[in-house]
């Protein structure tokens, strides 16, 4: 079946997710090369290319080991004249930034779009950094769509702009665009050019100091050229001609337009929407400020545009009051919504913006929380319990980014420090040296390939003392089961080389390496005990497949669910209280197992002292 994004009917209207629209924009621009490391809210961009590349073999797509590699990969293709895209979440750009900042110096000869998705409010991220500053830091052009239609159109334009400037272009979105859906009018699919050539020019591409000294001024010239384009760009438009000015970007534009339209004061306002927001279009901002009594900047995150507007005003001797972030105004925290924007508009322009009145809910009973939990049958639960069995609260547990971060919650309570991909392993030696305590660091298989290799080499070399547990569930779980270098993907018809984690660990010089299935609980606890007194870096690979992923594999047979035998159950609830498995529930004050949720992992059956939990299959056989 043809992938829906390959529909080649121009002007056809489709309901698309923001991320699908970005992928469609790239296809309309004739993208030939795409790479990514998955990360919410960007993951569905790469997912489209993953599926399409299996249908159309002339599109190259790969999941790279991390964002830096994926950017470098796309840069290589773009250096040979191809049109390439790389997509990542905001913190992924931190990983890729080393390459990006000097790639800005060399530029590229084809086109390269760097799609980066910020996550204000941190729906599924460890921070809410504002990635727009990377455009400033790298001097690269940046585009910011306000709608799903623009997400498609701007992506297409980003390729054209990149080719004109011979420079990577940043396409910066936020969750509310990536995970929004809207009606998109399609354009034509451009034929992709799939073969490139590389023209050697070391004095432009090999960034030794003498070359870079000559490339930096070239970059600044390109930035001037980009600024001229931004000044004329239709992505930076002015609406209305009132004396009250509002500057906005991204999703804030929708809130501003709706608020002003609803208020009925359209004639009092003038809106400057900045979609091509780096380099700052100074002339356009100046044109806008002309005749403005005062201006309000509406942007989520940091005062990036506000600072720019103030600079333009100051440079040109304007005294127009500029408002934006501040105690009574907009916050640098979290997401905006229509009410937040209306409130500040009302304050700054001293006019009513009617706000909906929510019902009183204060006396409603508290809704019990639903924190995300490890799934029923998740092998990470068994791995954490096995480690806890041996070390309890006495060890320090630096952890890492993935599903297994959820081990933080009660009753597992496993996770003492979490900042970035690979940092659990990276920080372990520091905790151990500083305290002399036992340290057990956790890392997932995908995260291990992403950024576990160099900290492990460093720890072995520097003779640190800690236990590293690699939670190997055979997939990138949290972001939707993307493959990584440790995964066999032959069943998908993909020709890749699977890398064995244990060999990698041994290759990095670790002497004590054990691989065990954590769902064989007694053996797993035994293994942790045996390793517990070792000095140096020991690695325990806890290997068992993600039950959600396993279900999708060919030839998979589900195990029978387990059940509680009421005649044996003493109702002490050790099973439930220790595991926190979501397959358990309480019915008439007794523990029951939901047969639809239970995957038959048998962890609880191994924990029950009365052996009161048995496979439903065995019961059937007995009868």
């Amino acid at each position: 079946m043809t992938h829906p994004l390959l529909t080649d009917t121009a002007d056809r209207k489709m309901l698309l997710l923001g991320n699908e629209a970005i992928a469609r924009g790239a296809l309309e621009a004739g993208v030939a090369f795409a790479s990514a490391y998955p990360g919410t809210p960007s993951s569905e961009i790469a997912l489209q290319f993953f599926h399409i590349a299996r249908e159309q073999s002339d599109l190259y797509f790969e999941y790279s080991a991390n964002e830096k590699v994926s950017l470098e990969m796309a840069a290589g293709a773009a250096m040979c004249g191809l049109r390439a895209i790389v997509s990542m979440k905001h913190v992924g750009l931190n990983v890729a930034s080393d390459a990006l900042l000097t790639l800005a110096y060399t530029g590229i000869t084809g086109a390269l779009v760097v799609a980066v998705a910020d996550d204000p409010f941190m729906y599924s991220s460890q921070n809410e950094q504002d990635s727009r500053y990377y455009a400033k830091l790298s001097s690269l052009p940046m585009l910011e769509p306000s709608s799903v239609q623009e997400a498609k159109d701007m992506t297409h334009y980003a390729f054209d702009l990149s080719e004109i400037l011979r420079s990577p272009v940043i396409l910066r979105t936020t969750t509310r665009v990536n995970h929004a859906s809207g009606v998109v009018s399609l354009g034509h699919l451009r034929r992709r050019v799939v073969a490139g050539s590389f023209h050697k020019d070391p004095y432009s591409y090999v960034c030794i100091p003498s070359v870079s000294r000559h490339l930096h001024p070239k970059l600044l010239k390109k930035t001037d050229q980009a600024a001229n384009i931004a000044d004329e760009s239709s992505w930076n438009f002015i609406e209305g001609n009132g004396s009250f000015g509002v500057v906005c970007n991204g999703v804030s534009y929708g809130y501003v337009v709706d608020a002003i339209t609803e208020s009925g004061y359209k004639d009092r306002f003038k809106i400057l929407r900045l979609g091509f927001s780096h380099p700052i279009p100074e002339k356009r901002i100046l044109e806008f400020l002309d005749g403005c009594e005062k201006a309000l900047v509406v942007e989520e995150g940091e005062p990036y545009l506000e600072e720019a507007v103030r600079v333009v005003a100051h440079k040109n001797g304007l005294t127009t009051p500029v408002f934006g972030k501040g105690d009574d105004l907009f916050s640098r925290l979290y997401e905006f919504d229509p009410a937040i924007v209306k409130n500040v508009l009302a304050k700054v322009f001293d006019m009513p913006f009617p706000i909906a009145s929510p019902i009183n809910t204060r006396d409603f009973p508290a809704a019990p929380p639903r924190p995300p939990n490890l799934c029923a049958g998740c092998p990470h639960r068994a791995a954490y319990l096995a480690v806890r069995e041996v070390f309890g609260d006495s060890a320090i547990y630096p952890t890492d980014i993935g599903c297994y971060t959820l081990g933080l919650h009660a009753p597992l309570n496993m996770g003492d420090f979490l900042i970035a991909m690979g940092a659990g392993l990276g920080s372990a030696g520091g905790f151990a040296r500083a305290t002399g305590k036992k340290v057990v660091a956790f890392i997932g298989d995908s995260t291990f390939f992403h950024s576990g290799l160099s900290p492990l080499a460093s720890a072995v070399y520097n003779r640190h003392n800690f236990l590293l547990v690699i939670l190997d569930n055979g997939t990138t779980g949290m972001t939707g089961h993307q493959p990584h270098p440790g995964v066999d993907v032959s069943h998908l018809g993909l020709d890749k080389t699977q890398i064995d984690i244990e060999s990698v660990v041994r290759g990095l010089g670790v002497k004590s390496v054990t691989t065990i299935n954590p769902l064989h609980f007694a053996k797993a606890v035994e293994a942790v005990k045996r390793i517990s007194s070792e000095s140096g870096v020991s690695v325990l690979i806890m290997k068992a497949p993600c039950p959600l992923y396993e279900k999708t594999l060919p030839g998979h047979k589900s195990r029978r669910p387990y059940e509680v035998r009421p005649e044996r159950c003493k109702n002490h609830r050790i099973c439930l209280d220790r595991t926190g498995c979501p397959a358990f529930h309480i019915e008439e004050n007794l523990v029951k197992i939901d047969s639809h949720r239970c995957t038959g992992c048998a962890l609880c059956a191994q924990l029950c002292p009365e052996k009161a939990i048995r496979s439903a299959a065995r019961e059937d056989n007995k009868r």
Binding site: T40, Y123, S147, P338, A339, R370, P372
Partner: protein, 208 residues
Amino acid sequence: MKTTRIMIVAVGGQGNILAAKLLGEAALSCGIDVRMSEFHGMAQRGGVVESMVILGDGAGYCIADGEADVLLGFEPVETLRAARKCSARTLVITNTAPVLPFTVALGHAVYPDIPLALRSLASRVGKLTTLDATTLARLTGSVQSLNVVMLGALASSGVLSSIGTGAFEKAIQGKMKAPLALQNLRAFQSGYEACQNEIRGNSACAVE
């Protein structure tokens, strides 16, 4: 078209995102502009899933507190959790069958008295319609169809008069293969009729 804001809340796995997509596709096929946003970061892990569907005029993708014209809740506690999106004129349609959070099983939280809480909610919003969509879905062949039962209930509420049932049925057939589509069409009909019955005064699915 005048803007209509529909907030859909559910527990991960209940099919919230698909329901929003079907609603969006149905609207699009009637020539109505659609803007939606979804929040499902860790939904597969038992979390809360929210969809905001905005039909008609406007540019925003987000529903502020008190702005929802309709709150469609697939689980009663999730309906309560999202009640701040309602104003005194909001239509609330909720499934009454609970999905217990594991925090309740662990004894870390209490599942509230739902009929009592829904009575308070009913007294503050424009209208509250309740139905046991989980049972209705099971009766049509699969619990998984509770999202489409809820969509049927929404379609019969009268709020979306410009989207005919035919548009919903076409959307269901467009997103699913034949046998599954057939079963979901039954689910849609079942939710539709359940609310029609309530409107006619049959209290089978009313709260009081």
